[in-house]
């Protein structure tokens, strides 16, 4: 068992798959000899060489097109898009080409590839380098969408994504890169579409993703001090979505809260809320509440950015007020 940062777990996860399968190749801007702008791919170039760890020009369409063409002809590429905001530059390749080609071809072509990207805020980079865009990907049929919250899950879910026969967009929470966590020794392979219960409590269910998970856990600690016991579910995978775990917990506690870093409108929590409203309505004892970034581009100044993104304090306060209201 090692203590690894989320950042180092990325390199370990990629290395595990490069080591295991000759078909796995890795490409992106500055990912090779520079080790990545977030230093999350340090050492891979020296260990695996330029044939398998490939630096590219600033050409996001060419990067993802290369990954797609390689995937449909027998390779298992991992492509990095440096910041998830840049997915907008190559969204045609993501949403029109990669996502649709299997379906349009009547199942003839298979695209086993992973698009890794640094997502979300926390680094005071401003609106074009800080968005949480997991809901963009979730809205496109044909894409699997994964977002780990711990170093262990970075390794395990990345392995699952690489080994999956379908295209996976893998959102790394850039604000979590320096955070350490325990990572078991040896090969780690997880399963896509499985949520994890991070904390058990009978009073409410808080569902969170990626950078919002540690905040939800912290909020649950605060709430426990007030006599409110929360279950915290780490969604981990938006597509496929582990509705079974979410609905079972929601039915047991009667209250559902979602914590989303994405801007308000059409965030992933809206889909979760709609499913819960349809399927466990009779078990609910109060309204479903979404806690999100407001519907704004993310501001840069630390005070503003911190205010915009859901904090542990905001989560705790929202849950406390809502439960109090339900009981009054």
């Amino acid at each position: 068992m090692a203590q690894l940062t989320y950042r180092d777990a990325v390199a370990r996860g990629i290395a595990q798959e490069l080591e295991r399968d000759e078909r796995v190749v890795f490409l992106g801007e500055d990912v090779g000899s520079a080790g990545g702008v977030f230093k999350s791919t340090t050492g891979l170039f020296d260990r695996f060489g330029p044939r398998r760890v490939r630096d590219t020009p600033i050409s996001e369409q060419a990067i993802l097109g290369a990954a797609m063409g390689a995937a449909m002809t027998g390779m298992r590429p991992i492509a990095e898009i440096m910041f998830s905001d840049f997915l907008a530059v190559c969204w045609d390749i993501v949403a029109n080409e990669i996502a649709k080609t299997r379906y349009m071809s009547g199942g003839q072509l298979t695209l086993p590839l992973v698009i890794r990207t640094a997502n979300g805020g926390g680094l005071r980079f401003g609106a074009q380098h800080s968005q949480a865009v997991e809901n963009w990907a979730m809205a496109v049929p044909g894409l699997k969408v994964v977002a780990p919250s711990t170093p262990r899950d970075v390794v395990g879910l990345l392995a699952a994504a690489v080994r999956d026969p379908d295209p996976v967009v893998f959102f790394e929470a850039k604000g979590l890169y320096p955070v350490k966590g325990e990572v078991p020794d040896g090969e780690i392979v997880d399963t896509l579409g499985t949520a994890e219960i991070r904390r058990q409590g009978g009073d409410c269910t808080i569902v969170a993703l990626a950078a919002m998970v540690p905040r939800a856990i912290e909020a649950a600690g605060t709430l426990a001090g007030l006599g409110i016991e929360a279950t915290v579910i780490d969604v981990r995978s938006l597509v496929p979505l582990d509705t079974r775990t979410i609905l079972a917990s929601t039915a047991a506690t009667g209250r559902l809260f979602t914590v989303e870093e994405n801007p308000r409108l059409c965030g992933w929590g809206a889909e979760v809320a709609s499913i819960a409203a349809e399927e466990v309505w009779s078990e609910l004892t109060g309204p479903i509440v979404r806690i999100t970034t407001p519907h704004v581009p993310l501001p840069s100044a630390d005070a503003l950015e911190d205010h915009a993104r859901p904090s542990a304090a905001l989560i705790a306060e929202t849950v406390r007020k809502s439960l109090g209201g339900a009981r009054a």
Partner: protein, 343 residues
């Protein structure tokens, strides 16, 4: 709009290159399959048996036929929404292609792709892509895969003149040249970007050839109506790619006999512009060339009859086939065959 002469082309294709007899006749058969197939497809549009849109290659057949004949069986084709000819060129039978155009269960894609997305993986026809420029980047990926695995395969990517002005074209050319990928980019310059003359929206007179130098490549300009010149250009580009010397950007100058798509009667073109191009017809003139070159009329007639037979059978089979099973709507989003996104 420049005339063929002003573009430096002879009034009729020169047919100056020599090829083996079986190749010579094979090129004719391939072009004739495209020509007859698309004329029939057009008739079926008029009968409202083909829905949606469709983009014909009438007049441009020499390019697809030449590459189809020159490519190795395991080389890959990447085509655009104007992809009927490129699909047939890889040896795909007419019947499933026609059925796909008619939206029938026996279609090449079971009715899920239609005219603009023809794909036949078993023929290494890796798709027809309907977003301009995107597939150049995808062809690079296949070429990269061949390079990594040392298979000697080449990816050949066809696109129109309008594509040379979109960003993906330039990203793809730069990456292919930098990585020395075994890929051939073939610009079918039919002089019209949809409804607009390409020359009026492009900074250079030769939309592809004049851009080659920007990527360290030599300009390659070919008479796209001369199937023998195209075959020669294809062989050179494929050999260069296989040798490890990297990509080639070919500009094949041609003309589409019809409009951009089914919806376009092409009234923006003057008769005086169209006439010299109809007179440069790549199929009819090549047949005449073969006859003059010693191929017997009976041998040519045999090809004509064979193609007519395949086409009639394909048409009747497509008309008789049922609509696709409605269950297909939620099939094949994922590799497990399904469309499920939750448990």
């Amino acid at each position: 709009m420049p005339t063929p002469t002003e573009l430096g082309l002879p009034a009729a294709p020169a047919f100056a290159n020599r090829v083996d007899d079986d190749v010579a006749v094979g090129l004719y058969r391939s072009m004739l399959r495209m020509r007859r197939f698309e004329k029939r497809a057009y008739d079926l549009f008029l009968q409202n048996l083909v829905k949606g849109t469709s983009h014909l290659s009438l007049g441009q057949e020499a390019i697809a036929a030449a590459f189809g004949e020159a490519m190795r069986d395991d080389d890959w084709t990447f085509a655009t929404y104007r992809g009927h000819a490129h699909t047939l060129a890889r040896g795909v039978a007419m019947a499933p292609v026609m059925a796909e155009l008619l939206g029938r269960s026996t279609g090449l894609l079971s009715g899920k792709g239609g005219s603009m997305h023809l794909t036949s993986a078993e023929h290494h026809m890796m798709g027809s892509y309907a977003i301009v420029g995107a597939h150049l980047t995808v062809a690079n990926g296949a070429a990269w895969s061949a390079q990594l695995r040392g298979t000697g395969q080449v990816a050949v990517c066809f696109f129109g003149d309008g594509t040379t002005n979109i960003g993906a074209f330039h990203e793809a050319l730069n990456l292919a040249a930098t990585w020395r990928l075994p890929v051939v980019f073939v610009c079918e310059n039919n002089l019209w970007m949809e409804y607009t003359p390409i020359g009026s929206v492009t900074a250079v007179p030769r939309p592809a050839a004049d851009r080659a130098g920007g990527y360290g490549l030599d300009p390659v300009l070919v008479d796209g109506n001369d199937v023998l010149a195209m075959y020669d250009a294809a062989c050179r580009a494929l050999a260069r790619a296989r040798s490890g010397a990297g990509p080639t950007l070919v500009e094949a100058v041609t003309y589409r006999h019809g409009g951009h798509s089914r919806a376009d009667p092409a009234k923006y073109r003057e008769d005086t512009e169209v006439r010299p191009w109809i007179a440069r017809d790549p199929v009819d003139l090549y047949r005449a060339h073969l006859a003059g070159d010693g191929v017997s009329e009976s041998a040519l007639k045999e090809v004509d009859d064979e193609v007519a037979g395949e086409l009639d059978a394909a048409t009747e089979a497509a008309k008789a086939a049922p609509a696709p099973d409605l269950g297909l709507v939620e099939r094949d989003v994922w590799a497990d065959g399904g469309a499920s996104w939750r448990n």
